[in-house]
């Protein structure tokens, strides 16, 4: 086996099998025999006894001859012993060890150079034995070839399920409900690997607590709270002293009586540092401007409307209706209206952001913005409000400039003449409705209990409600007797004296914490068989929507029509066209490209000097920029998916999908508004994902010298090969160079070479390092860097971006690199389309791929090539595979 052949073997970089699931080029087929039916047949017929006999007969002598001298009782190099009886590969740890043995053998890393090599036949004997046994063990664990372990919902999926079933979406108030549940393992891909999703008692308790809390938040089983509502008008508000704002008495305010005559309590409003417009409305300037002492999320009333509402039990939904519009100067973004709970008591100030609403409409056409605040589901220390006997709500203009702005300077001792125009928010009036206001019982309660509307008695009503909710939560049709225990529980609660509504609570909690809700139940036989219609509907909709099937899918499933290839592909198109497919797009792209890092890593953006000299403004601008950077690759993918473009377009495209903030970042003119849209790409941003600043930021991890980080990232995520695990105790490049004067003299390329010159390190680094240079002319924030200034008498040398792929092909620039990977014709394990097929397949199946999947992957790649690598066709071909449609 030659060097090049060996490096062509490739790992898809997924979970346990990453070092193992390689693709064998055609010329090696004879030698390796892993793909195709022969392999499946082997699996079926080799019994455990036969395999042990084979081990004793052929494998063990080879191990003894070639390996045991170093990996035996005497030396035990690498803590590995290969003497002894046949290993038990059903044990996952042992299996991991043998997978490593396999990959070292295949890559020719073992036996080491100075030792006698294995003959090709012997190598084949050894590796095919390991492959077969490992494959058999894994498949046995899953219950058959190509099968998937039943799994529970991830915390994100479960929270989404509860949101769907109970309608827990509130106007303009996003709730990070999943964060109330225990963290799931953070794997690169796929997150929903059933083999990793454990379930412990804390999980059960958290899931049940969560379900109970959500039911309680929706079911209005308590007496109706006082139904108050207030209307705060800018017009007619008197001058007032407003605490905490700078210029003394410049503010408005007053007491407002409730709309309902029988309500005696008045509410209070104050509006600080603002102007009154001729029509009576108020204008809110950006908060940092109104309040130079602006402390991030802090406290003052300056530049905002501050409402003091009567205290109520924190149950139900508090609603605001804000009549607003915006004034946006050219080149600026639409302002954000910020709504927060705000306790304004000195020493107990506490502020919790509830809503951030972009105000798109002009101030000439005011519009109503609804804000629904579910009190039970918003984490807030309500005891503060209870003590103050009121609810405080603060509404401000939290716009942050998109354009870079220096600190305004003025003559000493005099106020600065503000040189900039900012986006303003005009507010005309705000209406507030207490939890008891409006129709009673509230809308969500009526929806939850709606199925019981026509029942004759309470018990019949309960039965209808349970069947309705269980059908949604369990995502399948029900048998009538399944509801019996829940009804029995309902009867008990009634006998204990609870009301018809209140007695629903515990049975509903039980329905939502039932294993049928928490797990994706597939009733499998011992051998693989087609899934039932509803099971297939579930797989499909979890794949593309991250949630259970909708009515249409369920109907097709119950009519037995879903599994027809035509219907199935039509449904895939429908699902992808639906906005709910954003779940798939965001999750898949975010995980593939590790975009979470852009938001969470402490990357220094150094925006202070460009942000009015204020660290706080810089911090907030940075947050928004980071989110946009992290969002761009997903919006780009969504656009390509919508237009059904070929896979390689993702790494080579003459358009970008950006919004105003990103356009500024890339130096592109003429893009207004925060919505992402497709625009022509400038010369240096035509490699799709590979030329996006967010991707480079995720790859560089905030490091100025990031060649190795970038190489690892590219190898793993774009070339689809696991980079290997570094030994502990190795200091990062910049630390090495800091502690060693001589190293500092070297160029980055030389430093990298030195860093990885050790033999053991070179094994992986010879693949990693040459990739990392491809972005040498971009900094860690994805901005183009200019070559260093020419030294006296010499001309400036352009930045060297050359490198080579692990298979030896060289590139001189990013565009060449993208072209090599994007080449659709030449078969290569690094061909981007093929990498994407593997990624999508693993994601669709919710598990890492393994050897038994190779046959399917080969076919999928062929199909993809036939279909011009079009993204939707790839997805469709995955869904119609037997592996996907069989349980």
């Amino acid at each position: 086996m030659t060097e090049t052949q060996m490096t062509k073997t490739k790992a898809p970089g997924m979970g346990v099998f990453r070092t193992f699931g390689f693709r064998i080029p055609g010329c090696l087929l004879l030698l390796a025999l892993p793909c195709g039916l022969a392999f499946a047949a082997e699996l079926k017929f080799a019994s455990a006894d036969q395999s042990r006999a084979e081990f004793e007969g052929t494998v063990r002598p080879l191990l003894n001859k070639h390996c045991v001298a170093c990996h035996g009782p005497e030396k035990m190099k690498g803590d590995l012993r290969l003497d002894g009886a046949a290993p038990d590969l059903a044990n996952s740890k042992t299996r991991g060890v043998w997978e490593k043995v396999h990959s070292m053998l295949v890559r020719g890393e073992m036996p080491p150079e100075e030792k006698p090599r294995l003959s090709t036949d012997d190598l084949d004997t050894l590796t095919s034995w390991i492959r077969r046994e490992v494959g058999r063990a894994v498949i046995a664990e899953r219950g058959g070839a190509g099968r998937t372990t039943m799994r529970r919902l991830t915390r994100v999926e479960y929270a989404r399920l509860i949101e769907d079933v109970l309608d827990l979406r509130f106007a303009n108030v996003p709730l990070p409900l999943a964060e109330k549940l225990p963290n799931d393992p953070q794997t690169e891909l796929p997150v929903n690997d059933g083999d990793l999703l454990a379930f412990q008692s804390l999980h059960w308790r958290s899931y049940a607590d969560f379900a109970e809390r959500a039911v309680a938040a929706v079911l209005a089983s308590e007496p109706r709270p006082e139904p108050w509502s207030y209307r705060f008008e800018a017009r007619g508000m008197g001058r007032a002293n407003v605490s905490g704002f700078q210029q003394g008495e410049k503010g408005f305010g007053g007491n407002v009586a409730a709309n309902e005559k029988e309500i005696r309590r008045a509410a209070k409003v104050s509006v600080g540092v603002t102007e009154r417009n001729p029509d009576g409305s108020t204008t809110l300037p950006a908060i940092y401007r109104a309040d130079p002492g602006y402390l991030g999320r802090d406290p003052m009333n300056a530049g905002s409307w501050y409402l003091e509402l009567p205290y109520v039990e924190p149950k139900g939904v508090l609603r605001l209706r804000i009549r607003a519009g915006s004034i946006v100067p050219k080149g600026e973004g639409v302002p954000l209206l910020r709504v927060a709970f705000h306790n304004n008591v000195v020493n107990q100030r506490y502020n919790r952001l509830l809503a951030e609403i972009p105000i798109e409409n002009s101030a000439e056409q005011l519009r109503d913005y609804d804000v629904e605040i579910p009190l039970e589901l918003v984490e807030f220390p309500y005891v503060l409000f209870e003590r103050a006997k009121m609810f405080g709500v603060r509404i401000s203009n939290d716009t942050m400039p998109i354009a870079d702005r220096g600190k305004p300077t003025g003559p000493k001792g005099k106020p600065v003449e503000w040189p900039y125009k900012e986006s303003l928010i005009v507010i005309d009036s705000i209406e507030v409705f207490g939890p008891g206001a409006g129709e009673w019982p509230p809308r969500r309660h009526r929806r939850l209990t709606g199925a019981g509307g026509s029942a004759k008695d309470d018990r019949g009503r309960a039965a209808a409600i349970f069947a309705d909710i269980a059908g949604k939560a369990w995502r399948r049709p029900l048998a009538e007797e399944e509801m019996t225990p829940f009804l029995k529980l309902y009867d008990q609660r009634r006998q204990a004296g609870e009301s018809a509504d209140s007695a629903l609570k515990i049975p509903l909690t039980a329905i939502l914490s039932s294993p049928h809700a928490i797990y994706r139940v597939e009733r499998k036989a011992e051998t693989a068989a087609p899934l039932t219609g509803i099971e297939l509907a579930n797989r499909l909709s979890f794949f593309l929507w991250g949630r259970g099937p909708d009515d249409e899918l369920r109907r097709l499933a119950s009519e037995g029509r879903l599994s027809g290839p035509k219907t199935l592909t039509a449904q895939i198109d429908r699902l992808l066209d639906d906005p709910k497919s954003a779940v798939f797009v965001d999750d898949f792209v975010g995980r593939l490209l590790a975009l979470e890092r852009v938001v969470k890593d402490p990357i220094e953006f150094k925006l202070t000097l460009k942000s009015l000299g204020s660290e706080k403004v810089a911090a907030l601008r940075e947050v928004r920029l980071k989110h946009n950077l992290a969002e761009e690759p997903a919006r780009f993918f969504a656009n390509a998916l919508r237009k059904n473009e070929p896979a390689h377009r993702l790494i080579g495209s003459d358009t970008l999908v950006i919004n105003d903030r990103l356009a500024r970042y890339y130096g592109i003119d003429g893009v207004d508004g925060s919505t992402f849209r497709e625009v022509p790409a400038p010369e240096n941003r035509r490699a799709g994902w590979l030329s996006m600043a967010g991707v480079m930021a995720a790859a560089s991890r905030g490091n100025k010298e990031a060649t190795i980080h970038r190489g690892v990232y590219l190898l793993q995520r774009i070339l689809g090969e696991h980079p290997g695990t570094p030994p502990g105790n190795v200091e990062p490049l910049e630390v090495q160079s800091k502690s060693d004067k001589q190293r500092r003299q070297l160029t980055v390329r030389e430093q990298v070479a030195l860093h990885t010159s050790l033999n053991t390190c070179a094994l992986c680094h010879r693949k990693i390092d040459p990739l990392g240079f491809v972005w040498a002319d971009f900094d860690y924030l994805g901005q183009k860097v200019s070559p260093p200034a020419p030294k006296a008498g010499k001309s400036s040398a352009p930045i060297d971006c050359s490198g080579k792929l692990p298979d030896g092909r060289v590139f001189a620039s990013l565009s060449q690199f993208a072209q090599l990977l994007g080449d659709q014709q030449q078969p290569s394990p690094y061909r981007f389309g093929e990498v994407l097929v593997r990624r999508l397949t693993g994601y669709a199946l919710s598990r890492p791929l393994n050897l038994s999947d190779e046959e399917m992957i080969t076919k999928l790649v062929q199909t993809a090539q036939r279909n011009g690598w079009r993204l939707r066709e790839i997805i469709k071909s995955i869904v119609v595979t037997e592996t996907f449609t069989q349980g």
Binding site: G15, S92, K93, G96, A140, R142, G143, R147, T149, M150, R151, R152, P182, N183, P185, Q186, T187, L196, A198, F199, Q200, S201, L202, W204, A208, D209, E212, G296, E379, P381, V383, P485, F486, L489, I506, P507, T509, A510, S513, S514, P515, H516, Y519, V521, E522, K524, A525, E526, K600, D601, P602, A619, T725, G728, N729, E731, P732, V735, K738, S739
Partner: protein, 441 residues
Amino acid sequence: MLNRRNFLKAAGVCLPLPWLETLATAAEAKAGSSPGRAVFFMVPSGVNMWRWHPKEFGPSYQLSSTLQALAPLRKELTIFSGLEHAKGAGGGHYEVGVWLTGNEKYKSKDGPVEPNTISIDQHIARSIGHRTRIPSLVLSAPGGSVTTSFAAAGAPVSAENNLRRLFGELFGSPDVMARLQNRSSVLDIVGEQARGLSKQLSRSDRNRFDDYLQSVRDVESRLQGDREYFASRPLPISANELPLDSDPQAQRQEYFRTMLDLVALALRNDQTRIVSILACGSGHEFFGQWPEFANDTHHRASHATNYDPEEQRPRDYALLENVDKWFVAHLARFLQTLNDTREGDSTLLANTMVLYGGGMSWTHNPSNLPMLLAGGSRLGLKHGSHLRFNPHKNLKGQLDKGVKPDETTVCDVLRTMSERLGVPAERFGDSRRVVRDLLVG
């Protein structure tokens, strides 16, 4: 209104539950001895190494400026220098998964991708956890799988981070009692359903689904125990009097004070004997930001310092020192509380070993770990000294990679603690010995 600082005292008065009355085994009651406990309190992400360790070794050392708050308890604690894991395990952000396991192979900073090995707290709890109502408390500010505690199979034990739930778990409340009742109704139904479902699954899925059944059984049996326990006792304090909804970052002060108070109370009442606490994630992800210190990031500062002299990086070292002192102050208050709590003829601290520290010293370096051990004099521990291991290394830990074969490691200390509680831990992690310097006689 009740002063929060007096919470423990007040709670103690309301809840006179010396361990003897409650769940102590008959043998312990007979012998009249107090049970031993162990607390493992980890603060990751590195420290200001110029100011953490005392300069002198042996019994006559001077406390360093960082550890000054521990001065009143000097006699009750031992400070370690040169302590680390064998083979340099736990480098960088692997520290959290390695601190209590010593597993040099654990390399999964992003979460539990590969199985770890059991952590010492779970090792101890496996043997003696059944003696208390709660076998072991696993707490961490980030919660979930971000924890120092790993079960026998190597999966992280899900950590609690919600103080309100912790409070309810420890002391019950009318709400909790009502919920227990509701909960058991729910459990009855879903348990029945799960058993039915299990029969319809293929063998492989059934294995996986056993997780669910087991979790239901666990919750059921805990529930039963809790109901009996709470039914027989009054509440120590109203949950409303405590800042149980404090945010672990925005209200870190209240959060940790309350958490440690609750831990002290749980130990005092012998509700549990084994506690692990993780202060934040290693790195920037979980609560590494410090609003009280100009919103700076611990991880950033730790990165920036390298091995530079202190005067070169005043701002970064100052942040590290501030954070170090902040946690040491909490530790000091916690130890003082234990020391002030009488138990039989000694104190709670005398029966509780508290291991404090981190798995990183200098920038992402796992050598010369900042660690100290307090309490446990009644369990045969000898204190009052600054012990030095690996003396061939300099302060920066740079002279040599790895621990010499005859040197003491973190696991040796863990093993010593475990064996003080009567749980053998021979060859735990990389351990090769009991640390004799820590033992009386």
